[in-house]
Amino acid sequence: MSLPPPDLRPGEAAALTARTAARAADEGIAEVAYATVDSPVGRLVAVATPRGLARLAYELENGGLDEILDDVALRLSPAIVEAPAKLDLIRRELDEYFGGRRRDFDLPLDWSLSREGFRRRVLRECALIPFGATRTYKDMAIAAGSPSAFRAAGGALGSNPIPIVVPCHRVLASSGGLGGYTGGLERKRLLLSIEGRILM
């Protein structure tokens, strides 16, 4: 006597999975929602909590989707679902930004992936640098209250969990050089050119 398991229709489980994940996010059962976003600087992974956008990761530079989510699971919560509707705002604002129709991001941020203290102070100061302007690492160290810590300021910016939105690409070396960037210097150049700061 054989009892083969029932057949599923193609895509049936995947469709139900997507509905379940969306419901988990809507009803607040999932603590973290994510979506992937295509952009001129490559694919991004956007991660939000009920407090706001917590992570915007360059997918390839961070080891791919699995590695990014593993890291978020470890540092925030494993209760993560893919729920694109929860990331609609950031996707729209990124589209507008890359399309030249937006200068400032206007959405709540969740800072919990940046270490409290100096690092977070540097990143919060960085979030205030306006579109089209630049600062030096030294400026950031001074703004965060430790004028001599410009190297540490560079480290803090390098650990920025929300690049583009927290515009660490607007911070340059005092020599006038580009300095470093979490997404690679080519992307830093591209972002600065979008903002009219350098010519590509």
Binding site: P6, E31, A73, P78
Partner: protein
């Protein structure tokens, strides 16, 4: 290598890995009509408990045990309202009763009509592909009792099929 301890995967990965198994199990044990809701309830319950789960748990066995409990709820509700169609007075069109024209194979309809324990063991064994040990732990019985219920269930199915063949 041993530096990173076992960790829970992000829930989405767990959901993707087990969604087809859970759905197949639910379609077999309660029919297609109720499987969608039970599927969502299963994974939402799993998600509520997920952050407190210890890493290295048998995640597949765990989620199928939750699905099993949801299936029991559906069977109990049907037991309380054995003929729900009889209560419809508005003449509105309703979905067909569970199992009808749903194409998941006659044999699971017959399994659903078996005594509860036999039904539970056969669906967990053959639709969810759990081991007898996992089934015993899901049902809170001994492995021996699970084996016996499976054997009894198969015997009943065989008898039914012979009866059907004889009257045909």
């Amino acid at each position: 290598m041993t530096k990173t301890a076992a960790r829970l995967p992000p829930f989405q990965r767990f959901l993707d890995a087990h969604s087809a198994d859970v759905l197949r199990y639910l379609v077999a044990s309660i029919g297609r009509h109720d499987a969608d809701d039970a599927f969502q309830e299963t994974f939402l319950s799993a998600l509520r408990a997920y952050p407190r789960l210890s890493a290295g748990s048998n995640l597949r066995g765990w989620v199928l045990t939750i699905a099993h409990r949801k299936a029991i709820d559906v069977h109990r509700a049907r037991g309380r309202n054995p003929v729900p169609v009889a209560e419809i007075h508005d003449g509105a069109q309703r979905s067909p009763p569970p199992g009808e024209g749903e194409g998941e194979g006659d044999h699971w309809e017959r399994v659903r009509a078996l005594p509860a324990r036999q039904r539970e063991v056969l669906t967990l064994r053959y639709a969810a592909d759990l081991t007898h040990a996992e089934i015993a732990s899901a049902l809170g019985c001994t492995e021996e009792a699970a084996r016996r219920a499976a054997a009894d269930g198969l015997k009943n199915l065989r008898k039914e099929l012979t009866d059907v063949a004889a009257t045909a």
